[in-house]
Amino acid sequence: MSTLAAETRVMSARAIARPLRAVRTRRALETIGTVVLSAALIVWTLVPIYNMVMISLEPEGDVFTDHIWPRVWSPDSFWGVLTQGHWYLERFWHQFANSCYMGAMVTVLTLAIGSLTSFSIGRMRIRHGWLVSNAALLTYVIPASFLAIPFYRIMQNYGMANNLWSVIAALVAFATPYAFFVLQEYGRSIPIEVDESARIDGASPGQVYFRIYLPLMAPALVAVGTYAMLLAWNEYLYQFLLLSSKSSMTVPVALAQFLSSDQSPWNYMMATAIIYAAPPVAIYYAFRRRMTAGLTVGGVKG
């Protein structure tokens, strides 16, 4: 009896073993595939970034060599940028401050205008609000660079050339539609009864906006603010066209000027590029989760 039972047990174990082995091989193949693909993705993603870091850490003379690894590591280029040591960089901090000012203003204005608009249309349900949302939708789908030439002309006519506010105006105009859509979409998750009960208690629409709407919308506002800030930081064309004087210039315009000269000091350029990239990367990783949520709503649902 007992041998028979043992035999059947062995048999069934064998019967199971075959598919089990197949599963194991498949798992192993999958793991190998994952490792290979991961490695390829990491190389693909990091090569241009590695190139940037490597050159920024090389002494000036070593840039024009065939190294693929810095011969000596030196932070001199970074130091040169931070102390404005190279003649190209003599106004670096001023330009950096311009970039920050521009980014901050675009963020604040986009948040303010976007939230007011979405409050009026989404919460107060103003008649013909769809007209405004269509205008916003239209703005969202017009490529900004296509409007650059007439925009430049108009700013010249207004005497706004070399004024940071001309760029701020353009960027706010292009960032607000997206802000409006994200806020609109997020606002749907907050019951309208919240507003209504506040109104019955005697709050004016202004009070509802400041005391109820803005606090409840905080997560979406963070996403939208980050988006606006990154948009301003990534933008080049309008800054290049509208800001040409040394005092109004921002970092991207100064960086591009490097490029047009005959002997570009690549190590300083790359150090500047890295310093310029640091704030948005930090902000992006800090608010990553909220950004992604906002992006799906705005980028996809419109």
Binding site: T117, V141, P143
Partner: protein, 304 residues
């Protein structure tokens, strides 16, 4: 009229009252003023900085003779070809990669999360920084890419940016490098939104692997994929930075696209109207795209 109280409004003749109602909707007088005041900033920004430039641009590019001059320009002709190639390859390769990679990133485990963090880096780093780096990386003499080719394989790499098709290829690849992470994130979120029950039921019914993708995942993602493709087409059409910094429109102005050619015509050869005309020549493509997109985006609560 604005100061009329609710009682007065009630006494107005019928036609006027319905006019007032049709303007104000259900909002009472004071509320309507608030709502209107809240709209004023955006409307002002839109009129001054979007509508006015649009009208101004249409006016600048309204002469027929401009287009004769434009179409006869060989640089314009090559730019138009480049734009079509840039759109066709840039958008489709990128979106297809994003579709596949979003499936890859659905795999469980800490490693996938960590990899995703690295993978989104190109998108988080400002364009100008990375495109300048790519520009120098592709330098024929001292660029990183050719150095690697030489050190590892003893191959003399070509001068990547000195030949039209390679330079254009470099621009397209740079665009794909920069923007694939963004669309991967979007499609990943789309996949996450597919209810677990659907996936589980499908798996029980035998729809796994490729079949699961073809019969379950893709039909559910199709609408999202289409909207993303259209949006990305529009964004790419307006892209200025990749071409400017990677190839600079060179060699000999052979890798311009319409967006960069417009700026070149307007500011380098100081003929702004021709620049506007170059951009406006994309309108036959832009207008249908905008109409389709506006319809889709307005109605789409993405159907999942």
């Amino acid at each position: 009229m604005a100061s009329a109280s609710a009682v007065d409004v009630g006494r107005l003749p019928l036609r006027q009252r319905s006019l007032a109602r049709s303007l104000r909707g259900d909002l009472k007088g004071g509320e309507y003023t608030w709502a209107l005041a809240f709209l004023v900033p955006y409307v002002a920004v839109f009129v001054a900085f979007v509508a006015y430039p649009v009208v101004y641009g249409l006016w600048m590019g309204s002469e027929a003779s401009l287009y004769r001059e434009l179409f006869a320009d060989p640089i314009y002709q090559s730019s138009a070809v480049n734009t079509v190639l840039y759109l066709a390859l840039g958008v489709n390769v990128k979106m297809f990669l994003a579709l596949l990679l979003s499936g890859f990133f659905m795999r469980p485990g800490w490693w996938m999360k960590a990899l995703l963090l690295i993978f989104v880096l190109p998108w988080a780093v400002p364009q100008i920084s990375t495109f300048i780096s790519i520009h120098w990386m592709l330098n024929g003499e001292w660029g990183f890419l050719n150095n690697v080719l030489w050190k590892l394989f003893h191959i003399e790499g070509p001068h990547w940016l000195n030949e039209r098709w390679m330079a254009l290829g470099a621009v397209i690849v740079s665009h794909i490098w920069k923007w694939t992470p963004f669309w991967t994130l979007i499609l990943l979120a789309g996949r996450m939104a597919i209810p677990l029950e659907i996936r589980d039921t499908a798996r029980v019914d035998g729809a796994t692997g490729v079949r699961g993708f073809v019969y379950i995942t893709f039909p559910l993602l199709a609408n999202l994929y289409l909207i993303c493709t259209l949006l990305s087409t529009i964004f790419l059409l307006g892209d200025f930075n990749a071409v400017t910094f990677v190839s600079g429109g060179g060699p000999a102005n052979t890798t311009h696209v319409l967006a960069t050619l417009g700026i070149r015509d307007a500011f380098e050869i100081a003929h702004p109207r021709l620049g506007v005309a170059a951009v406006m020549s994309a309108l036959p493509l832009v207008i249908p795209l905008v109409i389709v997109l506006m319809r889709r985006l307005r109605t789409a609560e993405v159907q999942l």
